[in-house]
Symmetry: C2
Subunit: 147 residues, 2 copies
Amino acid sequence: MRLTSYTDYALRTLMYCGLRRDGLATISEIAEAYGISRNHVVKIVHDLGRLGLLDTRRGKGGGIRLGRPPAEIRLGRLVALLEGARPLVECFDPHACHCPIVGVCRLQDVLAEAQQAFYDALDRYTLADLLESAVGLRERLGLSAAV
Amino acid sequence: MRLTSYTDYALRTLMYCGLRRDGLATISEIAEAYGISRNHVVKIVHDLGRLGLLDTRRGKGGGIRLGRPPAEIRLGRLVALLEGARPLVECFDPHACHCPIVGVCRLQDVLAEAQQAFYDALDRYTLADLLESAVGLRERLGLSAAV
């Protein structure tokens, strides 16, 4: 079972923005802090902006910050949104499925139930829970206590 | 969130063998029934044989059958075995992880809890539950009632 690196980086991008207390984050800063590709961060920030999860302002004095309070960002819903179009197995996508037993087979329902349990478990947490160890996290990300 | 097609096909291979009441299944027959690559099935049957989940006999009168009763094959444990080495995200694999916040970040624990919820939900079912609609499944797989 695997989540995309896109989802992984999107979660970390939101964490970074949640940890940056004053001022606004930049794409280069996020990419550098995690050692990931700037292009990845560009796409993530664009998508999270469209979802209203990031507030992006261009120009001088611009930058990126959370679009909603961390305690309102539930992780199950968030990961489901980010992974949304990606089927757990072939038969979850009616356009890609060539399995002859689809419709008779219970496996799809059983896997869907397990997938829901995964998202329900994540939904017990919000972005705020991921920011609890803020001091240690800021230290590792090169964000001084004042930033 | 995605399972490998290897896991998907392994589950279907076990279902096929559980549906074949008399005689023994063959690799070609399984590959043809699902329209999947023979090479995939060879690898799956080999691995499931090593796990004791399939009993494979070579030579004349040989073939493949379940190595354990379907009601004893729990789906959570099975999928965990099949997906085992595959990390949910980068930081689940200490050798591949370059994230600077690993060890301070709660995300890993939260995701591990959700992953466990996924496997626990699957563990409420066994292979026997997937074989309940045997008549319809056999029909779709070209297995006559007698086979």
